[in-house]
């Protein structure tokens, strides 16, 4: 069992608790032991708070890093945004003495000190690099045969690649391989690397929804049974987006189930769908579940 401090962030616990449920129930089955640190706060958010003040963003992120250091644990994140913030700040503070000194001067006011002893990992890295495709394959009880899946990575698990170092920034393959390991089929589709647009949601919702729209068109065109991803913000855009796209000027009727990868993994490991929070999905996942039964 590998121990990790579970970093939930804001959106998973407070908007998408079924994603948290899947992670908590499924990851331990792959020998990932999740430990709660209740004082963890917002990462803080990389496409809002960082834009206002990078210095404040770094110092606030360092509070979370210190909490993990105090427990001697590496952090696992379930969200691309939390990952980008915590991995970036951890890397910069580890490698840049000037930044570290500046941040520690601020942290001294709350009796904390950043040391740089721990690592930050995205759940994608833990599954792909640490657990590995072969071990996942060996644990599959119920192959997801015949399920065609459109994989969406989300930007902030991949880029900036020089800092995040997870996969190729434009042609990643880790999540595709993790999907195929379950007996399902990751299908190619146009616009696969198109951003979900969360970053401009607050300013230009209309165009952001066109971004969501254009990806969903391609996913449907390839007759995918569902999309899968590992970021709650992308998840919200593609799931809630389908409801919002019914209106003018889009008038689009999409029915693409959105699955958080740990949910698919749980089903493949033989869990009963009733153990997971599928009833909380805003786009019904029943067609996928029926195909698996």
């Amino acid at each position: 069992m590998a121990d990790y401090a579970l970093f939930l962030g804001c959106n998973i616990p407070n908007r998408l608790p079924h994603l948290e449920l899947a992670a908590r129930k499924v990851l331990p089955k792959m020998d990932i032991n999740l430990i709660d640190i209740p004082e963890f706060g917002c990462c803080p958010e990389p496409i809002g708070i960082q834009e206002l003040s990078r210095d404040a963003w770094m110092a606030m992120a360092a509070i979370n890093l210190c909490l993990a250091e105090e427990k001697g644990l590496d952090i696992i994140t379930l969200c691309n945004g939390c990952f980008e913030t915590l991995r970036t700040v951890n890397t910069e503070l580890k490698n840049d003495g000037h930044h570290k000194e500046k941040v520690n001067k601020v942290l001294s006011k709350i009796g904390k000190e950043y040391k740089g002893t721990q690592n930050v990992k995205h759940v994608l890295e833990v599954l792909y690099n640490d657990i590995g495709v072969e071990k996942i394959k060996a644990n599959v009880q119920k192959e997801l045969k015949g399920i065609k899946i459109a994989v969406h990575y989300g930007c902030h698990v991949l880029r900036p690649s020089a800092i995040l170092k997870t996969d190729d920034p434009f042609q990643p393959k880790s999540l595709d391989e993790l999907v195929n390991a379950l007996g399902a089929e990751s299908i190619p589709y146009l616009r696969k690397m198109l951003c979900c647009g969360t970053g401009i949601e607050g300013i230009d919702k209309e165009n952001q929804l066109w971004m969501v729209h254009d990806k969903l068109v391609q996913v449907e065109r390839m007759k995918a049974d569902c999309m899968t991803m590992l970021c709650p913000l992308c998840y919200i855009q593609y799931e809630m987006g389908q409801l919002q796209l019914k209106k003018e000027p889009y008038k689009a009727q999409f029915k693409v189930p959105i699955m958080y990868y740990p949910e698919l993994l749980g089903l493949a490991l033989g869990m009963d769908p009733s153990e997971l929070g599928f009833k909380l999905h805003r786009v019904k996942v029943d067609p996928v579940l029926q195909k698996i039964q």
Binding site: E51, A56, I63, K109, I110, C155, C195, G199, G202
Partner: protein, 167 residues
């Protein structure tokens, strides 16, 4: 109005974070070619922003709300053949814009939630009940005082004009 060209803004940016890389920009437009924000908003254009910095159009660049239409996907930074950290430079520009009070209104709500609750999405009673039904533990409760102290120490409270919520 005649625009005055100068190297002052470029020099200022060069001293901040990854800003020095802007000196390698030769305006090829690779950043714009792969930019989803340009494709969808039609008005955000990373090459144009780099050009305006190189020409020294500081005020026009920082006060233009278009600056906030980048989705931060970082495709430009990866694609640039000259190693210009385009999206990182954009963050520098947005930080400078914030200092002159030019940033989108909706971010104030995010700042308030962060400093009031320690979470930008603090949740509701309904979500707590749903979590209970799912057998999930209580939502994390960060030490807000620590976050506020750090925010104050870095000048973030003064910068954003944050006021604590009324009790």
């Amino acid at each position: 109005m005649a625009l005055k060209i100068s190297s002052e803004f470029r020099k200022e940016i060069s001293k901040l974070g990854e800003g020095f890389s802007i000196n390698y920009c030769y305006q090829c437009g690779t950043c714009s070619g792969g930019c989803p924000a340009l494709r969808y908003t039609k008005v955000y254009n990373p090459r144009r922003i780099m050009e305006n910095v190189l020409l020294g159009f500081k005020e026009d660049t920082l006060k233009d709300p278009v600056l906030w239409l980048c989705t931060m996907c970082h495709a430009c930074l990866e694609a640039c053949p000259q190693g210009v950290k385009v999206s990182e430079i954009l963050i520098i520009l947005r930080n400078l814009a914030t200092q002159i009070g030019s940033y989108p209104e909706h971010l104030n709500a995010e700042v308030s939630a962060l400093l009031d609750y320690g979470l930008i999405n603090p949740g509701s009673g309904a979500i707590q009940r749903r979590r209970q039904q799912l057998g999930l533990p209580e939502v994390p409760r960060p030490k807000v005082d620590n976050i506020k102290k750090v925010a104050d120490e870095t000048g973030f409270i003064k910068l954003t004009g944050y006021k604590p919520k009324e009790e």
